[in-house]
Amino acid sequence: MKGPLGFGADDLMQETLQWQRKLADGLKLLPGVADVDYGVTERREVWSDGKVKLYRFVGDGASNGQPPLLIVYALVNRPYMVDLQDGRSLVQKLLASGQDVYVLDWGYPDRSERYLTLEDYLLRYVDGAVEHLRAQHGGAPVNLLGICQGGVFSLCYAALRPHKVRNLVTMVAPVDFHTPDNMLSHWARHVDVDLFVDTLGNIPADLMNASYLMLKPFRLNVQKYVGLMDILDDRQALEDFLRMEKWIFDSPDLAGEAFRQFVKQFYQDNGLVHGRIRIGDEPVDLRRLTMPLLNIYAEQDHLVPPAASRALRGLVGSDDYSELGFRGGHIGIYVSGRAQREVPSAIHGWLSARA
């Protein structure tokens, strides 16, 4: 046969037969797959302010005596991604290495929280959690691990209250929002965000998810679900798939005012790069980030392009700045096998060297 297609009718029939077998297997297996659970590590609520709660993860081993490690996650998804399931848990690995790990859970804002601002999120909630941890540890500063938008929050918070942060780790955190490959930022540039928030109030999660899916529409809406056929006969893989689906679409609505400030200052004005961010009345000066800083980015990240994260290098005041490029994407950095091997140990090793 000449041309791009090197298969005959028999090959196509065999392929079809294989698909049908998968469908039949799936029909037997799928009804038995219960609603998936998530969160493998026991955790205890140690502090709260409104819906925002601080959890301490309970490990089997003893703490290595290092400062508590506070994970600050994004507002757009739930933080259980860091502890998704057995064997796919950043928290599990960090605990096993002796870190004392906490996570801040933002909860699900409702319309009564529409007027929460970035000042509330950083100087009320993050600071409240940090103060609680400091009070428990003799007033000593904490280690901060900020992920994605939580990384941006951590950068701002640490710049505003540098004496409260001993070491700062950021993961897939955007800093330069105007890199040419940042599709989300590209789209947001001319959106009238005042009109947007004044109209919607809180930003519905479904709307945000629709935007994310449109970043790679054919891969995320079509190919991913066609690929499901490959695992219809594998219960474990199906459960993993469903668990990930749950996390992706289990998204809180976003508090309107905080969204307004974030889009304007970060997405539209690229304020971190230009030094124009203000949280409440306080300017954020990244040069005040003089603590040791580890910046982890994902080399195939379609949401936060590597260049967007790496821009941090030239903006901070610390002379102890390290970067770690992870070979994977924005999601894989939490849950892939490679991530499990590389990321927690890198964080632990880096922190231990600065204990």
Partner: protein, 327 residues
């Protein structure tokens, strides 16, 4: 679990599917089409009877995407299986098959542009807008001068209709941009197919064709989505949606006020006051804690390489923890 009846039912469905497939692949089979979609539809129906809600939803997504896109690709592949072909022929057949289905295969993309279930983009509302735009069959009602006791109401309704019209226009621009990306995707698909014409580099399955199409489509889409034109189109659509939604809500609130029903605006005003008061209290508490502690908070100097900074114990005492401690 699926009962025996369900199993048998699906096996019977598969047999019919298989027979249809064999007929489609038979040179004398005429134009019989491969019943992959029907097979998937039956599969999803059977799945729906016993599975959890989450699994059912997943099954529906799988049925939709695997049925539409993969099924169509398989149909195209069947047309060329076992015979000589060129990249242009295959890509042309694929374009024809996709375009023959109209908007059906792009439904999810258009839904996404509408923000999921936007209340202002309901079919009946579009019909009303079309009627309004055509002046209800008479003169241009939208721009007609208004007067009399209902003048102010009519002005608002005209404005609302204009916003609906503008939203439609922006949506059409958006859809045109997506169609442009799709058009480019067909060209890219052909180019990618041409890259597989060399012996030893041929595609060996319909699934491989499908994956190649996805690559082409994503590349084409990314080019459009990152363009300056699309940036403006996207923003114009979002802004038009919001203007329309705001005006629609305003009308609803007017109706609520007439009936004495509390409105969103009133609730928001109360929530704003509460948030501002809480913020004020927090600032006052922080300020009073700072004034109770002598000396300003100073940023720590940059540490030497690998030198651990000293804990700022003094600073830690300045502000009391807020919130509720559980330990």
């Amino acid at each position: 679990m699926v009962n025996d009846g369900g199993d048998n039912d699906f096996e019977a469905s598969l047999r019919r599917c298989w027979e249809g497939w064999q007929q489609a692949m038979n040179p004398t089979g005429g134009t019989a089409s491969f019943p992959w979609r029907e097979s998937l539809e039956r599969w999803a129906q059977l799945l729906g009877t016993d599975a959890s809600a989450q699994v059912q939803e997943l099954g529906a997504r799988f049925q939709h995407q695997a049925g539409d896109w993969l099924g169509t690709m398989q149909q195209v592949a069947a047309g060329f299986a076992g015979r000589d072909s060129s990249a242009a022929e295959v890509a042309g057949a694929w374009r024809e098959a996709v375009e023959a289905q109209g908007d059906a295969m792009l439904r999810w993309m258009l839904d996404a542009a509408r923000g999921g279930s936007a209340v202002t983009d309901q079919p009946w509302l579009r019909d009303v807008a079309h009627a309004v735009q055509s002046g209800f069959g008479h003169a241009d009602w939208l721009n007609a001068p208004v007067f009399g006791p209902a003048r102010e109401h009519q002005v608002r309704w005209q404005a609302l209709a204009k916003l609906q019209r503008d939203h439609q226009l922006q949506m059409e621009r958006y859809v045109a941009a997506i169609r442009g990306a799709l058009d480019d995707a067909f060209h890219r698909f052909e180019a990618k197919l041409a890259g597989h014409e060399a012996p030893g580099n041929q595609l060996t399955s319909a699934r491989a064709m499908f994956d190649l199409w996805i690559d082409a489509a994503e590349e084409a889409y990314a080019t459009v989505a990152l363009s300056e034109d699309f940036q403006r189109i996207y923003a114009d659509l979002a802004n038009a949606q919001m203007r329309l939604q705001a005006a629609t809500r305003h009308e609803l609130e007017r109706a609520c006020e007439l009936l004495g029903v509390p409105t969103r605006t009133e609730m928001d005003a109360a929530h704003r006051r509460i948030a501002e008061l809480e913020r004020l209290v927090r600032r006052m508490a922080a300020g009073s804690a700072r004034s109770a502690t002598p000396g300003p908070e100073k940023p720590r100097p940059a540490p030497k390489k690998k030198a651990a900074p000293k804990p700022a114990r003094a600073a830690a005492k300045k502000a009391p923890p807020r919130g509720r401690s559980k330990t």
